[in-house]
């Protein structure tokens, strides 16, 4: 029994949700992914509770300290150890089964360890007083320490945590994907559903691993320099270039923006791989593999530099030319999306659909993702950016993109769950989850955009101005529905019914 299996199978409550079935002979592609998925659900509960604490601090006027603590932790937990880790877990299992290679050894172990240890260390730093928001807002951590708002040790602890999380996403995980795709021995018994690298379902995995590795490198260099200086290994004078706010912010957003885009490319390719398995006529084919791949390439090429839209209101420090470029590239991603939409709709129209609950959950997440894409394009238009930047619109967009991708992976997990656990999810609970998550997610995404349209600033601990509490109360209502949806989902994992291992295997290969 592998280390990962024993951790999952011995964890109370959450271990029950995705306990690894050792009789399948597939532990080598199941164990580490199961541990990542389980860990991501623990962080989902943390992020979800903190998400509700945000409006609660306003409704009960609990003070800015609690608000800014919850704000920093909620977003960090939602994005990295929940959403990214869920993607890593489900995506790794899926690619393992496609190429028949084991997910074992030190790379998956380091990916998991740095992600969760780093997130835990960052949590400690925030509880020590470091309230810098998800975006770090450099040089806020240092300025806050100079002003005595938080301690320098909380800054050092916090940067250590962030650094480990970045190492997981930028180094270990992409290296693991690349190793699996191009190196290592293929084991026939691990192949569940063979795919070549030209398959749209596989191309996205490679592209996104490359994007993470390449666009993350500048941030790794900047982060390493800063961390060495914080630990007094390098003199501060040698780290001054990295501590320049513009250098830090641009390398940060170049990665952070592309992290989201890489996750989008990955989940788009997962949809391309999953949808054909649920076609009514059993044809198992996309409308057009070429169009599907073209959409991924357009997304890749346009998204790399579209992150310049984060700095439109920094003019003239960001030259107008770069803002126009970022804006045009952002709308260019919309062409990739339009192509994707056509491929998905045409596939369904051509072959009919078996509306199983997992697939419907994926499609709802995908719909939300398109909704979010529209909001992202609009706010990348320069005229609109001046009216929306720094408002709740941006928080709504960030949360929605992360949430929609997580919802797609949660839907895709329906497909892979039996082969990992030897158990089957209850479709009735699944339908309840789909209903709740549809209302909750579209509701909370819409009201956050509306609040931004109404001029409500993001990240402020005082919503009792200009009637913004209306939006605050609506965040709470839809947040509670969304929370209920996730509870139903997690409950359905705990209550999944046993089935025979052979049936599980057949299902996975079906």
């Amino acid at each position: 029994m592998s280390f990962a299996t024993s951790v999952v199978n011995n964890t109370p409550i959450f271990g029950k949700m995705i306990a690894v079935d050792k009789s399948t002979g597939l532990e080598d592609i199941n164990a580490w992914p199961a541990l990542m998925i389980m860990s991501s659900f623990i962080w989902l509960v943390v992020a979800g509770v903190l998400g509700l604490v945000l409006p609660a601090t306003q409704i009960f006027q609990a003070g800015e300290d609690h608000y800014y603590t919850a704000m920093t932790l909620h977003a960090a937990a939602l994005v990295f150890p929940f959403s990214v880790q869920l993607m890593m877990g489900v995506g790794l299992h899926r690619s393992g089964g496609c190429v028949g290679k084991a997910i074992t050894g030190w790379l998956p172990a380091m990916t998991w360890l740095t992600m969760n240890l780093g997130s835990a260390i960052l949590t400690v730093a925030v509880l020590m007083g470091l309230k810098v928001s998800l975006m770090v807002m450099f040089p806020l951590p240092l300025v806050g320490a100079q002003m005595g708002v938080w301690s320098m040790s909380s800054v050092i602890v916090g940067f250590t945590g962030i650094y480990l999380v970045l190492a997981s996403m930028i180094l270990f995980y992409p290296m693991l994907i690349i190793k699996m795709m191009f190196f290592g021995r293929k084991r026939a018994e691990l192949v569940l559903s063979e795919r070549s690298l030209n398959d749209p379902g596989m191309l996205g995995m490679i592209l996104s691993a490359m994007v993470l590795l390449l666009t993350g490198l500048p941030l790794v260099v900047v982060g390493t320099t800063l961390l060495l200086a914080l630990y007094h290994i390098l003199p501060m004078s040698m780290a001054a270039w990295a501590a320049d706010p513009v250098v830090f912010q641009y390398s940060f957003f170049f990665f952070a923006h592309n992290l989201m885009e890489a996750m989008a490319i990955m989940v788009a390719s997962a949809i391309y791989a999953t949808l054909p398995l649920y076609l009514a006529d059993g044809s198992r084919k996309l409308f057009s593999d070429k169009m599907a791949n073209l959409a991924l390439w357009i997304l890749l090429v346009t998204s790399i530099t579209s992150g310049l839209h984060h700095f439109i209101t920094f003019y003239p420090n960001q030259p107008a030319a770069l803002s126009y470029w970022g804006s045009i590239m952002s709308w260019g991603t919309g062409i990739g999306a339009a192509l994707s939409i056509f491929t998905v709709f045409a596939t369904i129209w051509q072959h009919g659909l078996k509306p199983e609950v997992g697939l419907i959950a994926v499609l709802i997440g995908w719909g939300l993702y398109i909704f979010d894409g529209a909001s992202a394009m609009v706010t990348s238009n320069i005229a609109w950016a001046y009216q929306l930047h720094g408002t709740m619109w941006q928080s709504g967009h960030t949360m929605t993109v992360v949430l929609s991708m997580a919802m797609m992976w949660m839907g895709i997990l329906y497909h892979h769950y039996p082969v990992i656990t030897g158990r089957k999810l209850d479709p009735a609970l699944g339908r309840l989850y789909v209903r709740l998550v549809t209302v909750g997610s579209i509701g909370v995404a819409s009201v956050m955009l509306m609040a931004g349209a109404d001029g409500m600033p993001r990240r402020i601990a005082d919503w009792h101005q200009e009637g913004w509490m209306l939006w605050g109360n609506l965040f709470m209502v839809f947040g509670l529905i969304l929370g209920a949806a996730f509870l139903v989902y997690l409950y359905s994992l705990m209550k999944a019914s046993e089935m025979s291992a052979t049936m599980g295997r057949q299902l996975a290969r079906a």
Partner: protein, 186 residues
Amino acid sequence: MLDSVFTGWGAFWAVIVMFAPFALMGIYIVRRKSVVDTGPTSLQPSEFAPIEGVWLTIAFIFFVIVNLAGLKFIPWAAAAPSSGVGPVQEIDFTAKSWAYDLSSRQIETGKPVRFSGRSSDTQHGFAVYHPDGRMLFTMLMMPNTTKPTSVVYTFKEPGTYKVRCLEYCGIAHHAMQDELTVVKSN
């Protein structure tokens, strides 16, 4: 008319305009092909191509029109030499946690104002709100830049305009506010 499109709420309706056709089509297609008539379509694959062409062309033209229409509303376009904007009132300010140091808070309607801002510690914003609560524009300042961040804006109505920091800057960020007084020009 375009004035109200390139506002916060205009942006929200633009999202709805883009999303609604997609959502309606999605619901129709999924319902039709999973419940009403799950059989394969009689459309030949070749017949999809023109539909795809039309779909992509509509999306492309829509994207181009929206962005061309928005050019006029870009604050720096209004300040371009060719725009014919007359003499400009200069307001310089420095943002420092958690207040603004402004060279002037008095503005007259109809006269373009150039706001030029710097930060002296961490990232800050400078968002100006109309008395009715709408946000008019925002600016992002980082410390150590060689140039100030700047915007040119012409106020049309007199009143008290609120200024808010929209870049999170620490535990008193929400209290980082100021006011501008706009009076009718004579």
